[in-house]
């Protein structure tokens, strides 16, 4: 996924690639998501996260609904 300057840039980018719109977030929401998702990645005691735990991280930043279901 990529950063885009505005809705106008997003619409043009999707159209130029022939892609259907997926889901758009603000950079602020992505920042919240990145914190929850990656914060423990370098912990010495790291263990794989369960799908349910990953889903909770999405839920916690308001990313709910069919598009955001991991399984």
């Amino acid at each position: 996924m990529v950063f885009l300057r505005s809705e106008e840039h997003l619409a043009r980018w999707l159209a130029s690639n022939g892609w259907e719109p997926g889901a758009t977030l603000s950079a602020g929401t992505l920042h919240e998501l990145a914190g929850g998702w990656w914060r423990t990645r370098l912990d010495p005691g790291w263990r794989p996260r369960t799908p349910a735990a990953s889903q909770r991280i999405l839920d916690e930043v308001g990313l709910t609904g069919e598009f955001w279901k991991l399984a």
Binding site: L10, L14, A27, R39, R41, A71
Partner: protein, 148 residues
């Protein structure tokens, strides 16, 4: 996840953050005192478990999410170093993983113009006006992680 896989995974990540390069299975095997074929098998299992991403058909590491082992359009300065990220999400994930401030430089794929974001003390202080678009729904992210 097998104990060997976890040891190898943690070694690969810590080596990458320390040395800015991902170890080969031979290097990891020598450091950890395990046979090289076992280390190579562990790399492949870690890829299958989405714990890292290898170049297709090889044991060469391409992604240690949120870090990229190859150059990308998403550059991140954090913890006094420069990194490449795999995507917008990973770009903001690098300061989070390093627990450090960070500055992201990328480009809008529509106009090619530079975009910049900055994280200070865990807060996004620059780039809040930008948008991020997910083309692929969550359940299909790993169908083609390079595209996602």
């Amino acid at each position: 996840m097998e104990e060997l896989d976890l040891r190898i995974r943690n070694h690969v990540y810590s080596s990458f953050v320390r040395d800015e390069t991902a170890p080969t299975p031979a290097q990891a095997a020598a450091t950890l005192g395990v046979p090289e074929p076992d280390a190579a098998d562990a790399y492949r299992r870690l890829h299958d478990a989405h714990a890292l991403v290898l170049d297709p058909g090889t044991t060469r590491i391409r992604m240690l999410n949120p870090f990229s082992a190859v150059a990308t359009p998403h550059r991140v300065e954090s913890a006094g170093r420069e990194w490449f990220a795999n995507c917008a999400w990973d770009a903001l994930g690098i300061p989070a993983a390093l627990d450090a401030d960070g500055r992201v430089e990328s480009a809008c794929p529509d106009c090619g113009g530079a975009v910049e974001l900055e994280v200070v003390a865990g807060e996004l202080v620059r780039g809040n006006e930008l948008l991020v678009h997910f083309v692929v729904p969550a359940r299909r992210w790993w169908d083609d992680i390079g595209f996602t």
